[in-house]
Symmetry: C2
Subunit: 409 residues, 2 copies
């Protein structure tokens, strides 16, 4: 191990959104090379495998893998040691000769899906989102269902269709039936949407029967990703009773290629906005925390919403405790999404369904004649995330982008 | 390839439920050995790896794996060639000297989870089951929801908690709230149940964006397993709106260790009982078929129900076509369950929820004073399945069993 400084010698990195208090991981490749693990500093990615091999790091093999799973499976102690080692490499001038030849401009490398996803669970943790969706989908009933304030509602999604940022999203086809239609019809979704979420990636698994308490979040969660839970609202509205969303979601879920380790979020933890009624003890009502992460939803270059993650009702720690309270085991690579991040204001809503109120109130009129309700072919949506860093400035989390391609015939 | 006969030289196998028209696969091990792929004949398992190596089979490596995934990924042509080769080995007397040393009594080997499960989807394809559950869970509404006759309703379950037959099932804890309760409480499930299902295992995957038509079922599905979708009804009833079952199901799903290849079901295909209204074209209403499989639900040694798979409304071919109609990709190891198999009669119901009508009508009074409504600690449930074989007799599909252990403190 090298000594750990606080200012990096990497040009342009100090004071940027990718300073040494950030250090997200990705799986990258250069032309003709095998994908392997890198860490980001400034506008560069550090190729960790050769540096770790040269320094004879015990776990150097985990950086030669095509996913972060081997690194993540090593657990919290190794994860924090590796982070300290990387910080040392990037702040100690005497390491520069060794390290600099292995820094590559991010613009010159290809990024890959960072995680071999085991199970994917999607939560529904925003009070504003759940209330808005309730009002739009079930206008004649209470917006919030009776269980919502008692437990973080969640369901399993399709792990096999989690794709990396930048993967084109083909408009899905399927069955949909508007309330006024006599029978359902088959065709391309006409109400294609986004859900701006944060994703949590599990590093250390558990055995069947174990429970993970709220306080053990950082023992099991390795890091966070940007997540866009693409949704076909017309397919979803028709299919979702009584067993939940299925084909309206399973065609694609995009995640960022950069995975921000939870250690980089040390300054982002905040109190929850408040939970009433008090959740049951296993949900750790006295200790569960929120995260102060700012989100931007950009549509074709224009920011159309700024959802505040700190407004989320349920804590990511509570989601994990709930997920495992029945003894369900965790595996390395498990991914869980927060659910759509929506704040109380219109320009804080994290889905088009809410921004355009189910199609009734077009938004984004600065850019498009008449405004927008749902996604059109060719649209590009980019989600960006920043948080306070432990160094006093801000850090950028992994962004996630995707372009809509026309439905296949 | 050897010549293929029709009568096996393996003692006791001819005319049994495991004759050469069956030949299910499993992953097995003998004391101290690595798990590897075997095939069943009579009361024996044939260790395929050494025989395939001796005969220099192209794909001999797939039998040395700890799961069937490598074999399954080879696709339909290889699968049928391998089946023909095995049939030859077991029917040609001249192969006996080579093969016999690699036959082990099933009772002397350990069986393992046969498949590395990718995504797990659970359907809801029985009209009788869906109607019964609707009446019990939503007594004040139409039993069948409006979408039910138009599409095979399904949702994603937890792949990481799919376990092999014989794995003990620990009673899950969680939140539940009876309608009369003021607030939810935490504790062990008091309404633990089974769901007798059939599971379909995908061999050949697809690319994102592809659809699998009803007629391509056998190109993608490798085989079938017995499946028990253990369910905590009190947890499920409280959590399931609006995103579907989650912790009420995710604690364990048991599958048989024997995987019956679809080729063994050649004589089991039957017409569907009838679909009204006519499903949309992508669901192949003119070609979709059902399966004539007899199921037995045994509780502590007594058969309490005999659900007939042929009464299922939706075809397994239609489930696969629906699952992929939005372009969702398939992976080797994907598993989908039929949903509870229930026939129209009381003694054909595939769950305790239905057999005991939500706790109101105890069943099994021959064995227990006062009858049974839900599972008690120590209960053992075994599901057995048989179908007509291509040889004129019957074949046994993989059975699935599990014993309930008390909740953990």
């Amino acid at each position: 191990m090298t000594t750990t400084g606080t200012t990096t010698w990497v040009e342009g990195a100090a004071g940027s959104l990718f300073d040494v208090d950030n250090l997200p991981y990705a799986v990258f490749s250069r032309a003709g090379d095998e994908p392997r693990v890198g860490v980001r500093i400034g506008d560069h990615v550090l190729d960790l495998a050769p540096v770790a091999a040269a320094e004879m790091l015990d776990v150097h093999h985990v950086f030669q893998e095509r996913s972060l799973n081997a690194l993540m499976a090593e657990g919290r102690q190794v994860r924090t040691s590796v982070r300290a080692w990387i910080t040392g490499l990037l702040t100690d001038e005497t390491e520069r000769d060794l390290v600099e030849p292995h820094l590559w401009p991010v613009a010159d490398v290809t990024l890959h899906l960072p995680v071999e996803v085991a199970d994917y669970v999607d939560f529904y943790a925003s009070l504003d989102h759940a209330s808005n969706v309730g009002r739009i989908f079930r206008p004649d009933a209470e917006a919030l269902l009776p269980n919502w304030r008692h437990l973080p509602v969640g369901y399993h999604g399709r792990a096999g269709t989690v794709v990396g940022s930048g993967t084109p999203v083909v408009r899905p086809s399927g069955q949909r039936k508007a309330p006024a239609d006599e029978a359902p019809t088959y065709g391309p979704s006409a109400r294609l949407d986004i859900e701006a979420e944060l994703g949590f990636v599990v590093g250390t698994g558990t055995a069947l029967g174990d429970r993970v308490g709220v306080e053990d979040f950082a023992e099991h969660v390795f890091g966070v990703v940007g997540l866009n839970d693409w949704s076909a609202r017309d397919i979803q509205a028709w299919e979702y009773v009584p067993l939940g969303p299925f084909l309206g979601k399973s065609f694609a879920t995009s995640i960022s290629q950069w995975v921000t380790p939870v250690e980089a979020l040390g300054a982002a933890w905040v109190d929850l906005p408040g939970q009433d009624p008090r959740p049951l003890d296993y949900l750790g009502p006295d200790v569960a925390r929120g995260l102060d992460i700012a989100v931007e939803v950009e549509l074709n270059g224009e920011v159309v919403s700024r959802p505040p993650y700190r407004s989320m009702y349920w804590s990511p720690e509570q989601m994990l405790a709930h997920l495992t309270v029945n003894g369900a085991s965790l595996r390395t690579g498990d991914l869980y999404g927060s659910g759509t991040i929506s704040g109380p204001e219109r320009d804080q809503r994290g889905s088009f369904l809410e921004l355009g109120w189910g199609g009734a109130e077009p938004f984004g009129t600065d850019v498009w004649e008449g405004g927008r309700t749902f996604l059109e072919d060719g649209d590009v949506v980019t989600l960006r995330y920043t948080a306070p860093g432990t160094g006093g400035g801000r850090i950028a989390l992994g962004e996630v982008t995707g372009r809509i391609e026309p439905a296949r015939p």
